[in-house]
Point group: C3
Chain length 359, copies 3
Amino acid sequence: MSGKNIILFVLLLFIPVSLAAHFLEWGDLIVFITAGLAILPLAAWMGTATEEIAVVVGPTLGGLLNATFGNATELIIALVALNAGLVDVVKASITGSIIGNLLLVMGLSMLLGGLRYKEQTFQPIVARVNAASMNLAVIAILLPTAMNFSSLGIPAKTLQNLSLAVAVVLILVYGLTLLFSMKTHAYLYDIGVAEIEAEGLPHEKPNVLLWSGVLLVCTLLVAIESELLVGALEVATSQLGLTALFTGVILVPIVGNAAEHATAVTVAMKDKMDLSVSVAVGSSMQIALFVAPVLVIAGRIIGQPMDLDFNPFELVAVAVSVLIANSISSDGRSNWLEGTLLLATYTVLGFAFYFFPVP
Amino acid sequence: MSGKNIILFVLLLFIPVSLAAHFLEWGDLIVFITAGLAILPLAAWMGTATEEIAVVVGPTLGGLLNATFGNATELIIALVALNAGLVDVVKASITGSIIGNLLLVMGLSMLLGGLRYKEQTFQPIVARVNAASMNLAVIAILLPTAMNFSSLGIPAKTLQNLSLAVAVVLILVYGLTLLFSMKTHAYLYDIGVAEIEAEGLPHEKPNVLLWSGVLLVCTLLVAIESELLVGALEVATSQLGLTALFTGVILVPIVGNAAEHATAVTVAMKDKMDLSVSVAVGSSMQIALFVAPVLVIAGRIIGQPMDLDFNPFELVAVAVSVLIANSISSDGRSNWLEGTLLLATYTVLGFAFYFFPVP
Amino acid sequence: MSGKNIILFVLLLFIPVSLAAHFLEWGDLIVFITAGLAILPLAAWMGTATEEIAVVVGPTLGGLLNATFGNATELIIALVALNAGLVDVVKASITGSIIGNLLLVMGLSMLLGGLRYKEQTFQPIVARVNAASMNLAVIAILLPTAMNFSSLGIPAKTLQNLSLAVAVVLILVYGLTLLFSMKTHAYLYDIGVAEIEAEGLPHEKPNVLLWSGVLLVCTLLVAIESELLVGALEVATSQLGLTALFTGVILVPIVGNAAEHATAVTVAMKDKMDLSVSVAVGSSMQIALFVAPVLVIAGRIIGQPMDLDFNPFELVAVAVSVLIANSISSDGRSNWLEGTLLLATYTVLGFAFYFFPVP
């Protein structure tokens, strides 16, 4: 058993611990931390199970599966939080996931990869197509914010209708990017797929039934742990002296995206920057084009309407992250300094969110 | 006679219809729609006449002619609206023309071209020079907005003086870009010119007198139809349930730029992306560097002072359009997905302007 | 003696003249102008002295010396102004130095170089690494502004703490960029260094003692003249009908950066665009990553706390300058039109700062 798997099995222990903490009332802070730790191995296995099943069902259905379940942990936590009425935390975790993937994940990958290899390269073509989709997504989900900030205020109903219309366009675009990458221009992505398949997957045919069971169980457990996490969130973060904004932007996305973090950094250290960059950029693209619109639509259905009117400073942070990530990734080369610059940007944004006043 | 010409001749019928609608008082909505349709063939022939005369008078004078009359329809409609005191509609149509050329025209070209050809290429060098000029122009015409928004308010007189100073700089820069593209660095643009000349122009020498007559008559008729269009604009759009902002940003530019739309899309489907992209980017550059400053100066002269203080959300929309258009065009390649992304951005911006509240 | 040196020696005469103007009370306007002129030759010799000493002490220590003393004039003027409590002027001169280097210096270099050579090229790799550092620096120093503008207002103490935290990150990043350019990836910068050494330096070993003396005397004299300049600044600029903002953004940086201006333009006219662009971009990077954070920390120590909360319009101006400078320099080519576009942007920003109302 690999070192990674041992860690994951040990982390599983936090499932009973978090449940005990909840039912025996050991305090919200302990529930929050243990539930957060318990989600990490579950998220990792959901990722593995999705990839194993994808191998068997073929590239098209497999691609769809990956595209839908790729940010499942993120989506489940957000849905639970939305259901609990923590709309601001959900919005903050969307911006935090985008920022985290572009700055923290890509930054760590480039830094740790760059400490081993003087210069690393990756295909700029895929990076550019992704960057353009990201730009659209970011523009779209932040338009309502810009609109509200630049006018004298917009009725809540109008903002919700606009957000719903934007959400529908984004999901359509997401479908079209899948069509592009899996059908009409699949050859552009060939190298990436080959690397994903070569990366740690067994050569014998995976047992679909087994992995479907794993996926089902993990999904259920993630949902349960998310309930604990979300239920304890407000008290725990105020005990830590943190604002809801900081928790949503910095803490929640780290838990939700831990699996991508680990994958992207691991492959970067093996000099597979193509894969590393597409995990980071692809994940933030999925958040913006799929997770965010699904949450808007789900919120409408479950009666917790969520518009896309973010805190204006979140808009600044996302815009800034996309700009610097694009400028660093557009030439298809990376080195340790570029990784450091991304991490420094993340740090500085973290400070700003830490100091941001509660309205 | 080609299919295109038949359509244009049929559309000519809307000239008498619109006049009848106006004088027989059939209602502003009908006047607005028929005058809009009547302008389309006139704009197309003005474009053809300009190009025919340009062939005869030689590259330098011809280039100047194209540069001045290229957006004549747009300019006439705007001057009529300015004279009628519809300053906000004029400003909105400037931003709408820039957005429309970069997103709608370029998007449709890349989508329809991309459905026929897997990947299309164009010269990135010209695209970059144009992009830099566009950036300056957009920055310049939006500075007064940024200044007004970021301060506690600026006296109207100061805004007008600043706008006039900016307008003079922009017209000087426009002159210098012509000098660059027609004299000192004409070789960079050679391919484009050759393609324009090869594109549907007859090989015998055009009759200058005939085409000058066509140009004169069409200009007069466009001016008359613009009067009808502008006179009916406010009542018609409120009957359609639209705001003046939406009309100015979305509807007016579609009428004013229809000729460029048709050209850019037609040549894109013949895989002449160089020409298609330069029509789209060149037209938006002309709006920003020539039409907008001319309107500021004209407004001063006719006593309808127009500053460059736009709605802050227009600033956001233009900035966003320039960013995404630059990021998609900078590599000199296009495919159907990139076209779709531009169109999706246009759609989302359209929603936002539709929902934007009247102050 | 070269023509340049004759001019510098003549300008030295303004040292006694400015002192006379100050002590004989000839008026603040004359003190301001003569002290400004007196600083020019001192700044030039400080630059020469630093480079001479750098040659002797070897590349590493020499690089550090250049990195620390490269903007010494700028830093001394700012420290004197900060000590006099002119916090807004100091902030304005930081944004003005960034804008001035990217638009005025780079613009003049590209224009004057481009009038001699049809197309000039430079290494885009170094330009890109610098651009990414610039992006981070600009983002970081402008975050507090964005935060203050997008919230309902932030306590002064919070802004100072955030600014201090940001300053520490920036100085760390500055150290890492030095490590990158002088140690781990020095080969990327080789050409530049060779050109700097070949540029006007004598082949015999420089006299360290002599040049250290020159450096010391010039530094002292710059400090004295800065006292005169700053002391006369407020009265003189109001006599000229200028605001403190305009003086800080436009006038002070021209005095402080005159040496870089001269170097960058001179080498551009010799077709050494690599060196010219790195002087301009490197200098603005140094301002953002080193001078600005040092001022924040120094302000804390001398009891004149300076936060990084700029005028929102300064944020717009810097963002716009970085965007257009990046878009023009990213392809590694330049021509006279690109230089003109940078200068036009500078002119338009200058107009805007001239008209900007006093709060």
